[in-house]
């Protein structure tokens, strides 16, 4: 047998150390908390899967999870088509294009908590532009009093904040399509819709996948904006998963259940991303038509 050169281990050592300190050790701490009852720094009891069971039975958590799913799905359903439409409508080159790009990127540059504050004021019926305008139209709008209004305002805020990201990604994707495709389509007599359906959309698949995953993960972890805007209320109507988690871990200092829930949260995101990714990989690349082997 050939002697194995063990020096290769040295080469991967830096990466192993980095990953260990940045990811594995913190994660193991959480795992550690999730299976113990920490009574005081000196006293701790191993409780097995007890925290996981109790967390899964928690009605508030199930409510937050359900709210979160609907919210993230709504975010994707609104922001992705809207982002594509914006990108298609943007001027392709010249000074106007640069100007539109800058204007579009503004909302992306604003810190999360400022976004929350902006919308908090924007939606106020007494001094806010939107709140006052809706009131003027005779609508009884109140994001602090009406759960539906609060939920819609958070969604609208997220759409305002993050649709430009989707649009910018799509814009970059569209610019990467060589002119020859449009020329060939015009020679083949393709309609505007056919150009979109058979050239632009397939060529955007890569950036759309990134956009969907980014927006899904981000919206699933949304915290700051609704916290600033509504504080999770009225009632629990805008309490999403991360805010619920924070309440548990920081507010009530239930480290065990919070750790157990963190792990479940992490696995949910991982699982949903995995499903989304695989589904999007398959869309548009699967062989279609009968009789193909």
């Amino acid at each position: 047998m050939k002697p194995v050169n063990q020096k290769a281990w040295l080469l991967i050592l830096p990466v192993v150390l980095c990953v260990a300190f940045s990811a594995v050790l913190p994660l193991m701490t959480v795992v550690n908390y999730s299976v113990q009852d920490i009574i005081s720094p000196e006293r701790r009891v191993f409780v097995g899967t007890e925290w996981f069971k109790s967390v899964m039975r928690d009605d508030d958590l199930q409510g937050a999870l359900w709210r979160q799913m609907v919210f993230s799905l709504s975010v994707l359903l609104v922001e992705i088509p809207l982002g594509i439409a914006l990108a298609l409508g943007m001027p392709a080159k010249g000074a106007r294009s640069s100007l539109v790009l800058v204007l579009l990127a503004i909302s992306l540059l604003i810190p999360w908590n400022v976004v929350g504050t902006i919308w908090q004021i924007f939606g106020r019926a007494d001094i806010g532009l939107m709140g006052a305008a809706l009131k003027g139209l005779g609508l009884e709008y109140s994001y602090t009093g009406n759960p539906t209004h609060a939920w819609l305002t958070v969604l609208l805020m997220d759409v305002w904040h993050w649709t430009p990201l989707v649009a910018l990604l799509c814009f970059a994707g569209l610019r990467a399509i060589p002119d020859a495709y449009y020329q060939a389509a015009s020679i083949d007599g393709a309609s505007k819709f056919a150009v979109f359906r058979y050239i632009q959309l397939p060529k955007l698949r890569g950036v759309l996948m990134i956009a969907v995953l980014l927006r899904f993960m981000d919206s699933f972890m949304i915290y700051t904006e609704p916290f600033v805007l509504t504080g999770g209320g009225p009632g629990n109507s805008t309490t999403f998963l991360s805010q619920y988690l924070t309440q548990k871990a920081v507010g009530q200092f239930d480290l065990g259940p919070a750790a157990a829930f963190s792990l479940i949260y992490f696995l949910i995101i991982l699982l949903l991303c995995f499903i989304l990714y695989n589904w999007m990989q398959r869309v548009g690349t699967a062989d279609k038509g009968p009789g193909h082997e």
Binding site: Q183, I187, K203, H292
Partner: protein, 368 residues
């Protein structure tokens, strides 16, 4: 199928002033119905612009494009009913080969059974029948390029098929196959084909008529042998052939003219008013000669290269201001090959010698 007449000029920027502002200088050209043409020239000479004007992707800034006498300048590519194959294969990724081929017909609302029949026929012609149900995205570059061509050929009434350097991304050994396929299709369908390339071998083997272009100007239109034997512009002599034509400055004197310090009788056809002109001769036609041979010039060998099937010899003729480098090809046979530094005599003046004034060929048939 159509005869295409061009009478136009094009500039990409508005209000062109000098010649440099034009992508295409004013030109008149006719592509006959059923002919195979090549537009040949270096990068940036305007050949792709010309092609895009024919297809309708670019509208000429002045002038007209006519198909069979009908003005189509304002018509879209679809209305003109032309097909174009691009440098990089353009296929619709999400479709199968059959759907790709059917796409132009579907857009034009052709009946389903008719589409099926045409797609089957074209696929057979292009040897794509076995892959009809495969996804087009997974195929090799040459198959994709065949699909691009096929999308043009499915339309029975297509006016012309245009090619914009279609073999650039194809492996060398497949280039020959595809080119032969194109030839065969041209024979079968008698379509008007226009082929843009910067590769002279591709142009000369593909086309009946080659249009040589440089700096927005079509300098000569002719068959391969015309371009080789009688280049009508020094650029053609220089661009066609490997290596290109030798050019030597010549000056008229009392008895005849002088080249590289040697005197010769005036060639027929070169009018007496032309003081200075240029003599051009292909490396293939320069022969090693003796001092007693008419039209021979003394030279010193500078370099000898073995190119496999022939020897490429570079020799210096003349001295001082009239000094120039002449290249000649010697067959790889049993000839004696001169050594570097050896003094030789080169036969420069003969039946194959062309004379140029102001870059243009002086036609012999114009005695005054």
């Amino acid at each position: 199928m159509a005869r295409i007449d061009l009478d136009l000029a094009h500039a990409y920027r508005p209000k062109p002033k000098g010649d440099d502002d034009y992508a295409l200088l004013p030109l008149k050209m006719t592509f006959d119905d059923g002919g195979a043409y090549a537009l040949l020239g270096p990068s940036g000479c305007g050949k792709t612009t010309l092609l895009n004007i024919v297809s309708g992707l670019v509208t000429p800034s002045t002038g007209r494009v006519r198909f069979d006498g009908v003005d189509v300048t304002a018509q879209s590519p679809q209305q003109r009913n032309i097909a174009q194959v691009f440098q990089f294969p353009v296929i619709y990724d999400t479709m199968t080969v059959a759907e790709n081929l059917a796409f132009p017909l579907r857009n034009r609302g052709v009946a389903a059974d008719k589409i099926k029949q045409r797609v089957g026929k074209v696929a057979e012609m292009l040897e794509l029948s076995a892959q009809l149900d495969a996804r087009a995205a997974g195929l090799a570059a040459d198959a994709k390029q065949k699909i691009s061509l096929g999308r043009g050929l499915v339309r029975e009434d297509v006016c012309a098929v245009l090619f914009d350097e279609p073999l650039t991304v194809i492996d060398p050994h497949l280039k020959w196959q595809l080119r032969r396929k194109l030839k065969q299709i041209h024979h079968e369908l008698k379509l008007t084909l226009i082929y843009v390339t910067h590769d002279q071998i591709e142009a000369l083997t593909f086309a009946d008529q080659v249009v040589v272009m440089t700096r927005g100007r079509a300098v000569q239109i002719g068959s391969a042998s015309e371009l080789f034997e009688r280049p009508s512009h020094t650029f053609v002599g220089h661009f066609i052939g490997s290596p290109g034509m030798n050019f030597l400055p010549a000056r008229r004197n009392a008895a005849g003219f002088e080249v590289a310090g040697c005197r010769f009788a005036a060639p027929p056809g070169v009018s007496r008013e032309i003081e200075a002109f240029t003599l051009g001769i292909r490396p293939e036609y320069v022969a090693l000669a003796g001092p007693d041979v008419a039209g021979a010039v003394p030279a010193t060998v500078q370099q000898v290269q073995d190119i496999g099937t022939y020897w490429l010899v570079s020799a210096r003729v003349g001295a001082g201001s009239t000094q120039s480098l002449v290249r000649l090809r010697l067959g790889g046979g049993a000839q004696t090959v001169p050594r570097v530094g050896e003094a030789v005599w080169l036969g420069l003046i003969g039946a194959h010698t062309c004379y140029y004034a102001d870059e243009h060929l002086i036609e012999e048939a114009t005695p005054r």
